[in-house]
């Protein structure tokens, strides 16, 4: 080969090497963080404080950016669906939802690809392909029932708030609770919101006024808060048990208005959900309870370190 040809080949080879190197380097430099949109049911983000802290920690650890999308209405399946579509259309790399209604049809969503990551937290959807990060809701219900069984007389009349049964989490809690509670009790009443009762407190007050009960069991934050508010408004003395972790629920547990709370570790839910999207870790459904734990707390155990650590977020 002539010397000129050698030089030409050398220069080409060198240029190619430098181009590839600079490409690889610039790819490294410009590797942008993933955008994750989180669409949680309810129109008050404060209730999700622990979950948010967990998500943000995972976002920091795995280089992702978490954006929270608030719903304008408290519970609206259609709005949540449209928000999911909007976020996907706005180029979110993944969507995490806390499903307001587990029956919502996600097949109507236009996905950019078949493997587009959608994940549920706290409350899932009826779709085997979409994973749910949550504690075992059925067992949480059972544990709550055990607390009632341990502390209440068998002749007590128990009101079970049946709101939000459209969420599989609440439904599973109810099933767990009911299947356990019937082992000791047989006097139940089931409270439900009626048409036109847009605010939960209204139905709670109506039920409390209409029917005398010894124990009220609420299986989600908003129902429990409604029951607390209603009892305070009506100055009713009922024993309240619930599955919740809101500041208000904890506060009334602390001052004795609420007897017992069962709560799940929402920090871990937030952390694991974002981590699994960002680093691709798959958490098996049957092992989820190993990662996400729930706890039972009453006014005597509220300030034990293990409960303080999980229940109270660091407020800056």
């Amino acid at each position: 080969m002539k010397r000129v040809s050698w030089i030409v080949v050398g220069v080409c080879f060198l240029s190619l090497f430098l181009i590839i190197s600079s490409q690889v380097y610039s790819e490294k430099q410009t590797k942008s963080s993933k955008q994750i949109s989180v669409i949680l049911y309810g129109n008050n983000i404060d209730r999700w404080q622990s979950l948010k802290q967990g998500m943000e920690q995972a976002g920091k650890d795995y280089e992702g950016e978490v954006n929270y999308v608030l719903m304008s209405l408290e519970h609206d399946k259609e709005e949540q669906l449209s928000l999911i579509q909007r976020e996907i259309d706005n180029h979110a790399d993944a969507v995490i939802i806390a499903a307001n209604d587990s029956s919502m049809d996600l097949s109507s969503i236009r996905l950019p690809s078949k493997k587009y990551p959608i994940l549920c937290v706290e409350s899932g959807v009826d779709n085997q392909d979409i994973a749910l990060v949550s504690a075992d809701n059925y067992k949480m219900g059972e544990s709550l029932a055990m607390e009632v069984i341990d502390h209440e007389n068998e002749i007590a009349k128990i009101a079970i708030v049946m709101n939000h049964q459209q969420r599989d989490s609440v439904k599973a809690r109810y099933e767990g609770f009911y299947n356990k509670i019937v082992e000791k009790f047989d006097n139940f009443t089931f409270w439900r919101s009626e048409k036109g009762e847009n605010r939960a407190i209204i139905f709670a007050q109506r039920e409390l006024t209409q029917e005398a009960v010894d124990v009220v069991v609420a299986l989600d934050n908003s129902s429990l808060e409604a029951v607390i508010d209603a009892t305070l408004n009506l100055n009713k003395n009922v024993k309240i048990y619930g599955i919740a972790n809101s500041d208000k629920a904890v506060y009334y547990l602390d001052n004795g208005k609420v007897k017992t709370l069962v709560y799940q570790d929402e920090f871990s839910i937030g952390y694991i959900s974002v981590k699994s999207i960002l680093d691709g870790t798959t958490y098996k459904k049957e092992k989820m309870s190993h990662y996400i734990k729930y706890h039972v707390v009453d006014d005597t155990t509220l300030y034990l370190p293990e409960n303080q650590h999980v229940l109270f977020p660091f407020v800056k």
């Binding site: 602390d254 734990k293 300030y303 109270f312």
Partner: protein, 596 residues
């Protein structure tokens, strides 16, 4: 496997050896350069990592010092608040007469950015004063609170608690604060009597968190804070540790002395720097996973690889160019030699390049010239040889000689001299047998003399015994080699020019002997002799064709002897007019071996 590797190595070595000099130079230089660069690169990289580790540790030490300074300042502020409250307010007041709310509120207002609350309790846990003003929770057992117990346990000290959620005061906004409680035993005065009380300053935990967040934003790895027992006070992933999403080696690290330590936690090697905070006994612990340093070195690694890659490419091409420069003259010279090999002796021999190659080229050129000269000589010699052999062959079939001999035989038969005729035919047959000698040029002296005898026998018959022949051959020389048909032409000359025209009987003498390691054969006649001026021409002038006889002159015999045995051998002429002539054949002493 081992065999395969050996086989592969052998094959590679063989391939390497078979390759051209340019390939060998390029590959060898490139391999050496790459190995050297790799070695140097690796050494520098290791050194760089070591330095980076030291730098990171140094940096973390500085950060820890900074954090320690800030934390000390913060703690001292809190202690100052407690001291001020105690020494300036509580100690100076008789609580039976006056309260301390105003002073406490003032102190709180001044420091409220860092405080959640200031409160004073009596020995039974009853609240005496608190700021901000708040309702104390009814069911709180103050005496069972950790800060209360610890303060009472060491009454002369200030006690710092672990972070915890404050549970003393009711906040209708459902807010709960994470605090670090600074508690101490105070002396309360009631109507001149003193009793024990507890002063509690609840420090906002988020201040400590912010203080460390700033530190953590700067360095590699992270910094956390424990109490002297290793219980976490602050950790950037505190919530994760609380919820068991991760673990920290805090209990062990708290046992380390102040300084830098290397530890392996959860299979991860980490550099840990520990510093104890004054008074509290808290430990600030900086952790830098070695892996993280390595990750930060990736950019350096990447550039190192690029630089090495570029250098390797440059070296490869540099080597190719240099080896081309070095080997091009060799290749050109090799091409010239190949041309020579193919038989083209006139091809141009390359004499360029470095002086060594020039020298080689010139030497080969000179060798080729020498070779050409020698080859020309050989060709010339061969041609002469062929010519003289042809001449000799011609002598074998001299038609006159044959015709005369046959005529003599016919005459003998007609005159019924059968025994003579038989003898003649036998001599003729023997003459021809030796002449042919199976095509050989070298025969024994014995055969050559036999040939001469046969010739003389025939000639004597023809010349009717006009001459006599004397043979004096040393039997010792009979088995040495000679060129065939060198005596007969001398005899022929002796007969034709020596004795034929003599009136008296002619005499021909043949002598054979060995002298000084050589063989000599002399043919003498007593004829008229050869004039002196002609003698030298007889052996040099090729154009002096003979008029009679076989036509083969002395020069032919001379040439044939010299072609075979060299210039030092040949003929000598000794002649005197009217006295006779002697021709001496000088031959080397070479033993004759019959070819089978």
């Amino acid at each position: 496997m081992k065999d395969r590797i050996n086989k592969l190595i052998r094959r590679l070595t063989k391939t390497y050896q078979r390759r051209s000099i340019q390939f060998t130079i390029s590959i060898s230089f490139t391999a050496i350069a790459i190995i050297s660069m790799g070695f140097v690169g690796l050494t520098l990289y290791e050194k760089y990592i070591e330095n980076s580790k030291q730098l990171v540790t140094q940096k973390n030490k500085q950060l820890i010092d900074q954090a320690s300074l800030n934390l000390n300042t913060y703690i001292r502020n809190m202690m100052n608040i407690s001291d001020t409250m105690y020494y300036s307010v509580i100690k100076s007041k008789d609580l039976a007469i006056e309260d301390m709310d105003k002073e406490m509120a003032l102190l709180y207002e001044v420091n409220k950015d860092n405080l959640i609350s200031i409160a004073c309790f009596d020995d039974s846990g009853k609240l005496i004063a608190a700021s901000p003003v708040a309702t104390m929770k009814t069911d709180v057992s103050v005496q069972s609170q950790d800060w209360f117990i610890q303060a009472n346990r060491k009454i002369e000290n200030l006690h710092f608690s672990k972070p915890h959620v404050q549970e003393l005061f009711d906040d209708s906004n459902f807010r709960y604060y994470w605090v670090v409680s600074l508690s101490r035993v105070v002396s309360l005065t009631y109507q001149g009597n003193t009793s024990r009380g507890i002063l509690l300053v609840d420090m906002n935990f988020s201040d400590i968190e912010q203080l460390f967040s700033k530190v953590n934003a700067k360095g590699e790895g992270y910094v956390y804070l424990t109490d002297s027992e290793g219980e976490l006070i602050y950790h950037p992933r505190q919530k994760m540790i609380y919820t068991n999403l991760m673990e920290e080696n805090n209990k062990t690290a708290a046992q380390y002395e102040d300084g830098t330590h290397m530890e392996t936690f959860q299979k991860e090697e980490r550099a840990v720097v520990v510093k104890t905070v004054g008074y509290t006994g808290w430990k600030i612990i900086s952790v830098t996973p070695i892996k993280e340093i390595a990750i930060n070195l990736n950019q350096f690694k990447f550039f190192t690889v690029i630089i090495l890659g570029v250098s390797v490419i440059v070296i490869i091409f540099g080597n190719i160019l240099i080896s081309q420069k070095v080997t091009n003259p060799i290749r050109k010279l090799e091409k010239s030699v190949r041309d020579l090999e193919s038989g083209n002796l006139n091809s141009h021999i390359y004499t360029g390049g470095s002086h060594e190659i020039q020298h080689l080229g010139k030497t080969i050129t000179s060798m080729v010239n020498q070779m050409k000269y020698l080859m020309d000589d050989i060709v010339k010699e061969q041609e002469e040889k062929r010519k003289s052999e042809l001449d000799a062959l011609q002598s074998q079939i001299n038609p006159h000689f044959l015709y005369n001999t046959l005529d003599s035989i016919v005459w003998m038969v007609e005159s019924e001299r059968y025994p003579e005729a038989i003898s003649m035919v036998t001599a003729l047959a023997s003459l021809f047998r030796i002449s042919l000698s199976k095509g050989k040029n070298i025969i024994s002296i014995k055969d050559e003399i036999e040939h001469a005898k046969n010739y003389l026998k025939i000639q004597k018959v023809r010349y009717k015994d006009q001459f006599s022949v004397t043979l004096d051959i040393d039997p010792q020389i009979m088995n040495y080699s000679t060129i065939k048909l060198i005596v007969q032409p001398l005899l022929e000359n002796a007969i034709y020019y020596g004795v034929e025209s003599m009136r008296d009987e002619g005499m021909i003498t043949i002598r054979g002997y060995e002298e000084e390691g050589d063989i000599y054969i002399e043919v003498s006649d007593n004829g008229m002799g050869i004039p002196f001026e002609e003698q030298s021409l007889l052996l040099t002038d090729n154009n002096r064709a003979r008029k009679r006889g076989s036509g083969i002159g002395l020069i032919n015999v001379q040439q044939r002897i010299q072609l075979y045995f060299g210039k030092e051998y040949g003929l000598q002429i000794q002649s005197e007019l009217d006295e006779g002539t002697t021709i001496i054949i000088h031959l080397p002493k070479v033993e004759y071996k019959e070819e089978k």
